[in-house]
Symmetry: C2
Subunit: 100 residues, 2 copies
DNA sequence: TTTACATATCGCAAATTATAGATATATTTG
DNA sequence: CAAATATATCTATAATTTGCGATATGTAAA
């Protein structure tokens, strides 16, 4: 991982809501209600659930999640009209290795 | 580590210069000239050397380093008129464990 | 093919952060 | 004690980020 990428990830982790989302996504089943259409959390959690739990506006959370995906922290998968977000453990590992 | 502390550390790592300082401090002898009075890097690197290498003003770097110490990322030790900064590996470990 | 729903993007005002110069404080040295 | 040096703090302005409402886009259902 290079300095620029690591700093972009640092920016995502410089806000309490975003840091909290990273924590919540460690245990989707514990932190979110079950998905009604998809019966699993294999691809993570849908944007709406994250937004409701965070308590910020839809546009704000959408922007957060988009940026977190752009820097590699999250992986986004679309199923129908829903987007699901999960942690990208490989990138997280590269980041923690970089700063350690 | 709690969410608030982790986010404070995230803020320190959200700026390229500060991230770079963390990297430089991994290998003081490789990245900085030897100290003329102190003959070692046991307590890290003096503020002046970090400031010169970063190329920002003395006040800016001093503020950076103070904040990095406050959130636990760095340990500051004074020897005479110089302050030396080194990485706080224990806190860094707690941070990487938190986000992993 | 409308309509409804889920998510993304745009544009803006408010809050926060970045950064520097001036100044203060601490420490050593003459 | 006075001067010199290293670092810290204060104040101010520029730049960035936050977070929202409005609007656009994508997708499925009626």
């Amino acid at each position: 991982m290079d300095l620029r990428t690591a700093t972009e990830i640092g920016k995502c982790l410089s806000n309490q809501t975003r840091m909290q989302i990273m924590e919540w996504l460690k245990e989707p089943a514990k932190n979110f209600p079950p998905h009604e259409t998809l019966k699993h959390f294999n691809d993570g959690v849908c944007v709406t659930y994250i937004q409701e739990k965070a308590g910020l506006s839809q546009s704000t959370i959408s922007t957060y999640l988009t940026n977190m995906e752009k820097c590699g922290l999250l992986i986004s998968t679309r199923h129908g009209k829903w987007s699901y977000l999960k942690r990208n453990e490989e990138v997280i590992k590269r980041f923690t290795d970089f700063i350690s």
